[in-house]
């Protein structure tokens, strides 16, 4: 999670032009994701940010191929180790899920089974993948609990006996059970206090350094992203609005949406400054505006925005943004 200037040569996971639709019972189609692309490098942390309903969680579920039955991936490639995960069978996918890519689900409160001891839940994750026998699995559970900082004796306890922060740690332990290379964390700190949030982020950082994990952090908290991520993907209405190295995106944001999001975040170092707001609400995915999806809420819109969807344009080293204003700038040069 520490930003390193060196760029590892090959991405571990490449997402290319991923598009996902949801079809509701009336046959209505919602384009939940459209043309989402990004690369994840080993040992790095990528932040997926955006408001509720912008497709962050759908992106993650699409990559894991865990979409609910209404969801369909319509286009794209997800390349891990030169294998396109969208082209393999469900049976083969099991070799990747949890062993290569694991997930820390949102709201640890609801993701743990309330009537099974925490230790048993973690052990189940190990046994189900036939990694080892029961005895060794028990040892592994203790190892994992040590790793995430939960006292071994507490494996006998039930989730309700854990605090919010500890449940989140237990979820992380479970995700690490099969030593994955990629960890998806969906809003891992959202319901937690600042101090516990800092503890959980510190833990993720520690685990990353120890195992060289690549982490995808899904959150709406720009502060958390600034603290821990190396690269960031800003999503809006199911599309990538801006994608680039953390420093570039935060210090020279090119998309009006990113600019406004950053201005809307209360900053301890700038007390009393008025906060920017973004009027309106995110678009409904079954009634998307015809042009740029952000156009109805954008403070810098120009006529073309309501007609044409902007392309992603290169604005810097590995930094892209999708906005017509950039296109205009480019043509005038």
């Amino acid at each position: 999670m520490i930003s390193m200037p060196t760029n590892p040569p090959a991405p571990l996971l490449s997402v290319r032009h991923l598009s996902t639709d949801f079809i509701n019972t009336d046959g209505q189609v919602s384009h939940a994701l459209e043309d989402v692309s990004f690369d994840l490098y080993p040992g790095q942390t990528l932040g997926l940010v955006g408001e509720s309903g912008c497709g962050k969680t759908t992106t993650m579920l699409s990559i894991m191929r865990l979409l609910p039955s209404a969801g369909r991936i319509t286009r794209g490639e997800i390349i891990l180790d030169e294998v396109d995960l969208l082209g393999i069978s469900e049976r083969d996918m099991r070799a990747y899920r949890w062993k290569e890519m694991a997930m820390v689900f949102q709201s640890a409160m609801n993701a743990l089974n309330p009537v099974v001891r925490v230790g048993d839940q973690i052990r189940e994750a190990i046994l189900i993948h036939n990694l080892m026998d029961r005895q060794n699995a028990d040892l592994r559970v203790e190892e994992l609990l040590d790793l995430v900082g939960i006292a071994r004796a507490r494996k006998e306890q039930y989730p309700h006996q854990y605090s919010g922060g500890m449940r989140q740690r237990a979820m992380i332990a479970m995700a690490l059970a099969c030593k994955p290379r990629i960890l998806f964390a969906d809003e891992p700190t959202t319901a937690l206090d600042v101090m516990i949030q800092a503890q959980v982020l510190e833990l993720l950082k520690h685990i990353q350094q120890e195992f060289g994990l690549a982490i995808v952090l899904v959150t709406h908290d720009l502060g958390v992203v600034a603290e821990v991520c190396d690269t960031v993907v800003v999503m809006y209405g199911g599309k990538v609005a801006e994608y680039g190295p953390i420093d570039a995106v935060y210090n020279s944001p090119e998309h009006p949406y990113t600019q406004r999001l950053l201005e809307a975040f209360p900053d301890l170092n700038k007390p009393g400054e008025s906060l920017a707001t973004i009027p309106g609400t995110p678009p409904r995915l079954n009634a998307l505006p015809p042009g740029c999806r952000f156009e109805p809420r954008c403070h810098q819109r120009i006529p073309i925005c309501s007609q044409l969807n902007p392309r992603l344009l290169k604005v810097g080293e590995k930094h892209v943004a999708a906005c017509h204003l950039l296109e205009q700038k480019e043509t005038t040069h």
Partner: protein, 360 residues
């Protein structure tokens, strides 16, 4: 000496202990009753038109204070003055003998010299905004009924036309325009930000003088959070309403509180003007809290003081300074001497033994 204007709210040595249910074995063994010391001797005041932020981790007692102030809990001791008038426990419960008529908890004071304010009156003038806009609205009521309900309860604006006017004005002040469009809608038809606006509208419809806002933005997305914070700031500027703002996020505190009180385990450990406390924090706990606030700038990543573990159980409060088991600057005296608030500067107090030893 001209008397200064009365503060909106004056809280003096407030205690709130919750009894812990003891087992039969404990009872037979005559073990003393145990208490959760949720609020353990709090003193502060809130001026008219001022915003005071109460900051702390879960379980530090900040919500209990708000609930006690508005009479949802009975205080175990201490004195609450609302606009110079004494806040009493609900009379009904007093009559039933559930609460001693004269508070006899720790820190009880002579209470008879103050004029009193009834709960009903208090709740008309002080309103609470709860954390979760998804759970604090009745899903089966229309927005009109939700916002009009406080008027009905208090028998205000009885004529129908006047009531509609009041509801309309409240919704529009809360940024829901045109208000008529919302009258007949239900909470599930609204987004999170709109719901929180409805919550604020129904709090403001009575034109209260004090708002108790319990984490009003922590469940909301960043862009909506900014809207709600701006709205609260406008209300305060236009209406001069005093706000007690409860939060665990120092970032939002910096944005709009005049003063901030940092709480730890039922006590205020540092209190002062927002500028002073954020720029020159004296208590190690405040320093730690400040260091973990996410700053939206990757160039400002810094060394964070991450406290290990969680807030201790408020049943068995540590001896001496209650923060000492988690404090990085702990010295020997800390485990035996309980520090009191000391004056750091004119608008700034902190409770730490290290303050005796001059500037760190």
């Amino acid at each position: 000496m001209g008397s200064p204007p009365l503060p909106m709210l004056e809280v003096n040595d407030l205690y709130k202990y919750f009894p812990v249910r003891s087992s039969l074995a404990d009872w037979l063994a005559r073990k003393p009753a145990r208490y959760v010391k949720a609020v353990d001797g709090i003193t502060f005041s809130l001026e008219k038109g001022e915003v005071l932020a109460l900051v702390g981790e879960s379980g530090c007692g900040k919500t209990t204070i708000a609930r006690t102030l508005i009479g949802l809990e009975d205080q175990s001791g201490g004195r609450i003055l609302f606009d110079g008038k004494l806040v009493q426990s609900p009379e009904r419960r007093q009559r039933a003998g559930l609460v001693p008529l004269e508070s006899s908890g720790p820190g009880s004071q002579q209470q008879l010299i103050f004029p009193k304010v009834t709960m009903k009156r208090l709740r008309q003038q002080a309103q609470m905004i709860f954390q979760d806009p998804y759970e604090s609205l009745n899903p089966r009521s229309t927005i009109f009924d939700i916002v009009a309900e406080p008027l009905v309860v208090h028998g205000i604006a009885r004529p129908r036309l006047e009531r509609i006017q009041r509801v309309k004005a409240a919704l529009e002040d809360a940024g829901l325009r045109p208000a008529e469009d919302y009258f007949l809608r239900y909470p599930h038809e609204l987004s999170g930000g709109q719901r929180q606006r409805v919550v604020i509208a129904s709090a403001m419809v009575l034109e209260p003088e004090l708002l108790l806002a319990d984490e009003p933005v922590s469940m909301l997305d960043v862009s909506i959070r900014a809207e709600i914070l701006n709205l609260l700031r406008d209300l305060r500027e236009k209406r001069g309403v005093s706000i007690l703002f409860i939060t665990h996020d120092l970032g939002t505190v910096a944005y709009f509180a005049d003063r901030v009180a940092v709480m730890y385990l039922g006590r205020i450990v540092e209190i002062g003007s927002t500028h002073e406390v954020l720029k020159n924090p004296q208590h190690p706990y405040t320093q730690a809290l400040l260091s973990v606030v996410p700053v939206p700038n990757p160039r400002l990543r810094r060394q964070r003081v991450i406290l290990q573990g969680e807030t201790p159980n408020p049943i068995e409060v540590p001896s001496g300074c209650r923060f000492h088991p988690r404090c990085s600057l702990v010295v020997e005296r800390c485990s035996s001497v309980d520090p009191t608030l000391q004056i750091v500067s004119e608008n700034h107090q902190a409770a730490c033994l290290l303050l005796d030893e001059g500037p760190k």
